[in-house]
């Protein structure tokens, strides 16, 4: 072997080593981003569970004042059960949209029952619910930000190569279907 051959082999090995190191770094950053998405999802889940726990309480309170509104109350309960059973992000989003809209009709209904509106327990529950709903909105914002970063990472080169090799798949956004439930769009980044 001449010195030239040795140098060539060394250079090739060096380049290979650098490529391996870059790949490890990239793989790790994809994994850490994926964990961030999971964690963000968990944050949504925490808030959703708080809402699930609140709903039976709320329904019971309303029942005490508005016995004849069985249909609306059942819709709320059904939507809640759908949310608890949901397995995928899409199903969950659908169920949550339903809960939000059925709760809205529940509040609209409470307008007709002055005694219910005056009930302290009811107004406290409402206050809690409002807080939880805004937290859900914030958690959704964070989750969607993370999903966007993750999806961009595995859709662009060289992340897409890894995505194919290690079967990383894109995550679903947590979307709101109703137009009226959307927050006013004031900013575009």
């Amino acid at each position: 072997m001449t010195i030239g051959v040795i140098v060539v082999i060394a250079v090739i090995l060096g380049i290979a080593l650098i490529l391996v190191l870059i790949s490890i770094g990239l793989y790790n950053s994809i994994i850490s981003l994926r964990n961030k998405v999971d964690n963000a999802w968990h944050q949504i889940d925490v808030q959703l569970r708080k809402r699930y726990d609140l709903i039976p309480n709320l329904v019971e309170t309303v029942k005490g004042y508005a016995k004849h509104e069985r249909e609306t109350l059942e819709k709320v309960i059904n939507a809640r059960n759908m949310g608890i059973d949901a397995k995928t992000v899409k199903d969950q989003a659908k169920a949550e949209n339903m809960i939000t809209s059925t709760l809205k009709s529940l509040f609209a209904l409470s307008e007709n029952y002055p005694n219910l509106k005056a009930d302290q327990h009811f107004s406290r529950l409402m206050e809690q619910l409002n807080g939880i709903e805004s937290n859900i909105a914030y958690a959704r914002q964070f989750y969607n930000d993370m999903v966007m970063r993750f999806n961009t990472m595995i859709q662009t080169f060289p992340g897409n190569v890894f995505a194919r090799m290690f079967h990383f798949s894109e995550r679903d956004y947590f979307e709101i279907e109703e137009m009226e439930a959307r927050e006013p769009v004031k900013v575009s980044f």
Partner: protein
């Protein structure tokens, strides 16, 4: 973003090393002075230097863990309970979720001025502080803007650097003050008592002058370490969290009119969202400590974001 956090950590390390070096030099100088004055073999300089080195290292480590509490104490902030102000709790919790941060501690300063700051060593130990004036005079959207700005400081680790600077740099200026005074007064008493009195007082006078010069140098260190860009960065990151730059812009407009905080000092001024010397800022010396970019410029940039022009 990650480079920015790394930069903040690196600056913190530099500040700590600078502190240790400074204290060690002071220790050596003191020891040298004792040797000189009492004519004992030159052991004190080494002894004092080693002691100063050990003490400064201990102080640096403990300041990493306790400086947030010192800052809260210095500014007279106290924790507020959920019952006392549920409104601000809801907003801080919600925005922390949006920023992906643990919920920080919520404190308040009893002051009618409008201001706020964040402290702590990392997001797990973050604290946000508001003045009573701010909570009472701003509407929800504006307070959300301020909270988002402070959460950005927590997220960017600006709080670590800012808080460490308060304690270590503050301590240096206190020490140089003490030495300066003891030289001035001590020097006067000794004149005429020893034969070399005249020569000694000249040395003390020179030393005193050197320390007098130190004070503005410390101010410059603060200014160098804390770039004005961090306020712009926190404004834009904050707008990403609240998704409503106009909220912070309106808040800044109100804050800039009444941003005075009585308990703020030169050591803590850089932490606040707006210059806590507000109207006092025109005084000659505070300009040296001016760590805040002009409010008009910040508002202008936020409004450009609102219009979707972006940065």
């Amino acid at each position: 973003m990650y480079e920015y956090i790394a930069k903040n950590r690196a600056k913190t390390v530099v500040i700590i090393i600078g502190f240790v070096v400074f204290i060690t030099i002071v220790g050596f100088a003191l020891g040298y002075y004792v040797d000189y004055r009492y004519g004992i073999n030159s052991n004190f300089s080494i002894l004092f230097m080693v002691a100063a080195l050990i003490i400064s290292i201990i102080v640096s480590f403990s300041s990493y863990y306790y400086s947030d509490r010192i800052v809260l104490g210095l500014t007279g902030a106290r924790p507020i309970s959920r019952e006392e102000n549920p409104r601000v709790y809801y907003m801080v919790e919600g925005l922390s979720i949006a920023a992906g941060l643990p919920v920080p501690g919520i404190y308040m300063i009893e002051d009618s001025g409008l201001n706020a700051f964040a402290t702590g060593r990392n997001p797990q130990h973050g604290v946000v502080v508001f003045t009573r004036g701010l909570l009472e005079n701003l509407n929800d959207e504006e307070i959300k803007g301020v909270i988002s700005h402070e959460l950005s400081h927590i997220k960017n680790y600006d709080i670590l650097l800012g808080t460490i600077i308060v304690v270590l740099v503050g301590m240096i200026s206190i020490i140089s003050n003490i030495i300066l005074r003891s030289f001035i007064f001590g020097g006067r008493r000794r004149t005429g008592r020893t034969a070399g009195g005249g020569a000694l007082s000249i040395i003390f006078l020179l030393l005193g002058l050197a320390l007098l010069i130190l004070s503005p140098i410390i101010a410059t260190i603060i200014r160098l370490a804390i770039s004005r860009n961090r306020e712009f960065l926190a404004d834009s990151t904050g707008a990403m969290i609240s998704r409503y730059p106009a909220g912070l812009a309106n808040a800044l407009r109100k804050i800039s009119q009444h941003s005075d905080v009585r308990t703020a000092s030169n050591a803590t001024a850089h932490l606040f969202i707006a210059n806590p010397f507000g109207n006092r800022a025109k005084a000659a010396f505070s300009n040296l400590f001016n760590t805040h970019p002009p409010t008009e410029e910040r508002i202008r940039r936020l409004e450009r974001m609102s219009l979707g022009v972006g940065i």
